[in-house]
Amino acid sequence: MRPKIHRAPIAVASALLLGVFATACSTEDPTDGDTGSDNTSETSESPDASESPEEGGEQEWFDQAVYDEQYEQRSATFEGDPETPYLQYIDGEMTDTADYKSNKPGKACFANASIGNPWRQTGWITMNQQLKDLQDKGVISEMETRDAGDDDNTQIADIDYFISEGNCDAFIISPNSTAAMTDAVERACETGKPVVVFDRGVQTDCATTFIHPIGGFAWGIDTAEFLVDNLEEGDKVVALRILPGVDVLEQRWAAAEKIFDENGIEAVDFFTGADPTEIKTFITDELNKGEIQGVWMDAGDGAVAAIEAFQDFGADLPVMTGEDEMSFLRKWEETGLTGLAPVYSNFQWRTPLLALEKIWAGEEVPKEWVLPQTPITEDERADYIEANDGMPDGHYAKFGGEDLVGYPEVWQERQIP
């Protein structure tokens, strides 16, 4: 009953396999300009130094040098008008953009990591209103967007698609993850068109400008110092973290953990996935074990659930840091707890398009565009709540779009473009 193994199909398959190896080794890279030569800058002796350890194991997120730098930047002077914080920057190396000067409106191609959380959704709405403004002024003709749905592989494909099919006059990239997107961003740079990277960065500085608020360490410093100031040595803080491995979030915790350690605060951290059910469960279990004096969050999503957990348990409300999400600000006001709202400057979503305006006008832009990142304190809270009355709970107070067309309805209705 043994079936005969047909030779011909096996031969075909082997030929295909050989063909695969042949093409892999010898054909040109379609996105390279040169044919045949390996013109990538990779040598065989340069493993990724800063991100990945040589031996297997945990990646260390704490970087003393960057920590110190961000510590200083928190009190740095920013160039520009505080009324337009999305245009402010810390003085430093500038990129000369005279080559990009153009008189006609250009097409922007935006590779977005995703709109998968309220912070990104708010920013995306703001960005689109900013786009309308610049289209009216004749700076930008259109912006084509490809959404990667939080997937590295998809975003790499998106950038490659833009390069080959997009007819882009400029690239805007909000990378999904730092290391994985590096090669793709470099390919975009190689097209010779301006490349604007914002939010999470990449491991190359080929971009025309890299826009971001001060950074994760600054967040961690602001929040941890606030908690330390309001608590005593030996007090317990529960740290609610969303996900492991996201650099902007890991840096926040790395800094906070260090400060908690140095000041004798007992901190225990949990990964919650921003799920309010998980948050409540963790906190309730921890309250069962003993008192909790403080709550630290690496992002404000789910802050309300944390506060409610204390209320349901009947425990005293903790000292707490959340974020400038309206749900937290409102609950903070309602309960009167001691709190701080750090921000990740949602208005940074305006800056890439404004940067394009400058670039196409030939004005120089900062090589690394550091935006201000100032937490909302209890004194300022009331103003922000009033200004954003009528906005949904998932809206972010520092969205920076008050002067844009469509304010406030577009953000209130929260229709995703």
């Binding site: 225990v268 799920d275 309010p276 409610e308």
Partner: protein
């Protein structure tokens, strides 16, 4: 049960109902469906040992209250699994209900009742779609409910811009968050506990009714059930509707407990299936008890609390969960086939067949 299959003479009892309550309980305890209760007891003792204050009535009743949503979802999933299918759309149904609560009710108290009616209606419709897709379109339930999960979830997020506006009015959230105050010993009797008990009683009565028996029969052998006069398509559709309605109730409780948030309920279907499987219910249908599914949910939550109290890193939780469910199912598979005679020609863990007449097992003369 290895009894001779003589026709029961009047007044003669069936072997399954013979013996005193204690004897029957002991017999039941040996089956996987019964063993899960023992597991719950062991885990409970372990948690209390790790953290004595957990055993105090106020904390305990609050724990039961916060486990109520997943227990109700597990019971809903039970109906579907025991009838031989899967329901992967629970998370999307919960997300839909959460959004309705947040956006439709808002701060308007007058809308609470209409919203509840709307939620129940939507739950029923989703269940209907799942059921008809599986039985009339003959698409495997795995695929139909996967499609519902993607389509419903995507539609809801599209219509709301990714998140609901905000929390609904407090009176609505009281259902999931509040309780009867000033109860002796317990301090507060959370409403979710009451709702859970009501649903459990209702479910047990349902499973003892002809419909309940028919669900199990349909899962065991759809063709025989069909030949015996059951409308298989309607039985399965109702099972799906029960599942979606259970997800709706869980969603209402979760809105109260956790508030409105896009990630509320995500992954619920897999947790529910895990709980059902822990409860000894066989994937592929035909075996298992309703309350064991709820007990499985409690076992899972106790396990997670135990890990929390033991300070196990939260990143290891999935690993523990994975090990437990494999062990539970492997043991259950052995136990179910052990306790029956004659042994089935296909193993109890046979892959879930699609709900079609051409089921492989029945074609080979095993009738």
């Amino acid at each position: 049960m290895s009894a001779t299959t003589t026709t029961a003479a009047p007044g003669r009892s069936l072997p399954a109902t013979e013996g005193s309550l204690v004897q029957r309980a002991l017999r039941g305890a040996v089956t996987p469906g019964g063993a899960v209760f023992i597991l719950v007891a062991i885990l409970f003792l372990a948690v209390v040992a790790a953290n004595p204050s957990f055993g105090e009535p106020p904390q305990l009743i609050r724990f039961i209250g916060r486990t109520a949503p997943i227990a109700i979802a597990a019971m809903g999933q039970y109906y579907v699994i025991v009838s031989g299918e899967f329901d992967l759309s629970m998370g999307a149904v919960i997300a839909t209900q959460v959004v309705i609560a947040g956006n439709y009710i808002g701060q308007d108290e007058g809308r609470v009742l209409p919203a509840l009616v709307l939620m129940v209606a939507i739950g029923a419709v989703v269940g209907l779609v799942n059921g008809l897709g599986t039985t009339l379109l003959k698409v495997p339930s795995f695929i139909v409910t996967l499609g519902t999960m993607l389509a419903l979830g995507g539609l809801v997020r599209f219509l709301t811009g990714g998140a609901a506006t905000g929390n609904p009015v407090d009176s609505f959230r009281e259902i999931g968050r509040g309780g009867i105050q000033d109860v002796p010993v317990l301090e507060v009797l959370p409403y979710p506990v009451i709702i859970l008990v009501v649903i459990m009683i209702g479910g047990v009565l349902l499973m003892r009714s002809p419909f309940g028996r028919t669900i199990v029969a349909t899962g065991d052998n759809p063709d025989a059930a069909g030949l015996a006069g059951a409308h298989v398509w309607w039985v399965k559709t109702r099972a799906f509707m029960l599942s979606s309605l259970s997800a709706t109730v869980a969603g209402i409780l979760l809105v109260g407990y956790a508030g409105v948030h896009p990630s509320v309920g995500s992954g619920y279907e897999f947790t529910a299936i895990t709980a059902v499987v822990l409860g000894g219910v066989v994937l592929g249908g035909g075996r298992g008890w309703l309350l064991s599914a709820a007990a499985g949910a409690f076992a899972l939550e106790l396990l997670f609390s135990f890990l929390n109290f033991q300070e196990v890193e939260s990143t290891w939780r999935p690993t523990v969960q994975g090990v437990i469910i494999i062990l539970a199912v492997a043991a259950a598979g052995r136990a179910w086939s052990f306790g029956r005679r004659p042994s089935r020609t296909s193993p109890p863990a046979a892959p879930a067949p699609p709900s079609t007449p051409a089921r492989p097992g029945t074609e080979t003369g095993e009738n």
